[in-house]
């Protein structure tokens, strides 16, 4: 099996801030919805969320939508601080979270510059019959553990098993995390960064390519393509 290094590109020119990715992520990954009360206290759990910023001075302002998920950093600040190796780097470059090892120090969440980690403040619960729609491929997380975006690791594994069964290599674009699949404007692209010809590799070499908070030195594997149109020219 080829050695893969999964990465993502998000084109901010294409993102409309529709939040389909957020809904898809919730459905795919069995993420609990916390309810209005907890949400008001800032305890929402959206492994991917769309950050909205205003650019420019009134009246020449425009909204900038920036989907933020775990950046799967190569030099991830969350990993060394975890006392139990719950947060560790897997061989495919993914920043994995092993729920069973997590004891809930929440140090990783403080260390993460993107605030991309979410804590289970209570045991997750779904009103009947919503428990029937849970994805059997994704484990539920109990109270007191940290969770975050996995790049839909279950889909990666399923794709690799399928390719192996058909005795072939995984094709570029064959594996799509839920957010990428659901994006109506195809603003998100997912693939293998070790393959120089994959779409994600080619796009990440774009002149518009930037990474979020590059100055912190986390070497993220999510690349953002900055907006081309300069502001105020609509």
């Amino acid at each position: 099996m080829a050695h893969r290094w999964w990465g993502m590109v998000i084109d901010l020119d294409r993102c409309t801030g529709c939040e389909a990715c957020v809904a898809a992520c919730h459905a795919e990954n069995n993420i609990v919805t916390v309810g209005a009360g907890q949400a008001a206290r800032g305890r929402t759990m959206h492994w991917i969320h769309v950050e909205r910023y205003w650019e420019g001075e009134f009246p020449n302002i425009r909204a900038r939508f920036q989907p933020v998920l775990c950046q799967q950093c190569d030099a991830a600040p969350c990993e060394p601080v975890c006392p139990t190796y719950a947060s560790y780097h897997n061989p495919e470059g993914l920043n994995a979270q092993v729920y069973n090892r997590c004891i809930g120090t929440r140090y990783c969440a403080n260390a993460c510059p993107y605030t991309a980690r979410y804590f289970n403040w209570f045991n997750p619960a779904w009103d009947k019959p919503l428990q029937l729609q849970l994805n059997p491929d994704v484990s539920l997380r109990e109270v007191g553990v940290m969770e975050k975006c996995t790049f839909c690791n279950q889909r990666i594994l399923a794709g690799e098993i399928k390719a192996k069964a058909e005795n072939r290599e995984l094709r570029d674009g064959e594996v799509k995390p839920a957010c990428v699949q659901s994006c109506p404007t195809t603003a998100m692209v997912f693939g293998d960064l070790n393959d120089p010809n994959s779409q994600v590799s080619r796009m990440s070499r774009s002149v518009r390519a930037t990474t979020l908070l590059a100055e912190v030195g986390t070497l993220p594997k999510v690349t953002y393509l900055e907006r081309e149109s300069s502001h105020g020219d609509e």
Binding site: G42, R52, P80, C82, Y85, G104, P113, F119, F122, V216
Partner: protein, 469 residues
Amino acid sequence: MATNSAAQANVIDIKAEKIRKDLLLPVFHTSRRYYVLVFVLGAIGLPGMFVYAYQMYEGMGVAGITRPVFWGFYITNFVFWIGISHAGTLISAILRLCNAGWRRPVTRCAEAITVFALAIGAQYPIIHLGRSWLFFWLIPYPSERGIWPNFRSPLVWDFFAISTYLTGSLTFLLLPIIPDWAMVRDRATGVRKRIYTVLALGWRGTPREWHRLEVAMRIMAVTILPVAVSVHTIVSWDFAMAPVPMWHSTVFGPYFVAGAIFSGIAALIIAMALVRKALHLEEYLKPLHFDNLGKLLLVMSLLWIYFIFAERLTVWYGNQPAEMAAFWSIQRGRFAVLFWTMICCNFLIPFPILAIKKLRTIAGTVIASSTIVVGMWLERFLIVVPPLEHKYLPYDWGSYRPTWVEITITVGTFMGMILLYVLFVKFVPIISIWELKGGQHAKPIAEQANATVNPAAIRLDSTLPSTNS
């Protein structure tokens, strides 16, 4: 000090029989007020334990911590108590090594604070865990999980640092208690005699035993110093190692250690004043002791204001956007009131009190110490919370407000600390009797010991030199 050291060593000149009587009194006699005090402390403190159980049952969500402020009151209290723990062992070790004669009635008061504050402080990382019942996964032991703790994690360093410090300071506290327990044993009857016979570890008071005790104390005093310094440095690294604006600072190690000693001395002065009043030890804990500790506190206050100035100035001058958000929220935003209260409590109020000789009385030092303890708690809070509220991406900023759960547990541990101290005073003479006596002789203890096997008689029945300052 204007007087010479020999005069200082003899600040206490009381007949042996009286010392024994005064200092052993609380061990043998318990007033009704004592039981009431224990009951009240327990009644206020106990709900904290139930609330902790409730928090474990319901989930961490009953506390006020939230995203992005994942650490709040619990970690504040952790740092605060570990800081207080620097009262004892560190100060008493320094005073022992400097051979400061006036230290003798003070050391045990201080060392007991260390052990109890550590015991309380070490609870907090566990209380704060999402899954408290798995805290032992921090311990490196061959387990069925086949995995070591992550030695790169400052939290694992914490575990080792605190357990080392706790073991060391417990030894440092218990070693010099042995002769005093032997003295209680020889005077006690019944159950008390049996208990103290076990506690005294067969101490007979031979010259060889005295010699070994002295050597052991000297070794402990030297080794405990680097341990104490490293403990609070490592606690500071819990913050400094994370790339959080305002946390990621090289000054944190020494800044935390200075703050720890600062709050530790303040706690010691308060404890000494309370013990002095409650046990009528006016002849032992004299204004001189408060004066000397007050001077030490003055130095630490200056050092603290220097550190906070150095830390704030470099952040402000560096003017990095991510750091400035947290910086301004402390200086003139949501936390400004707490910040300026802290400056008043840690410097503006105690500095004049401690600097002016006339004000550096027992009452003066106790007032200064009280404000310092409050101020240092605020300092810990301001280190933990505001930077977490303002991390890099403004969209993810949030705010923290403690709930009744955190407040009850916090109150519970404060009461628990006082309760432990109150109980300690009942089982151990709070002033080291043999050391007090030792201080009244010019010669080292080992040389004075005579060969008789009657243990309690050795230190106390010799006549005292009557010279005094």
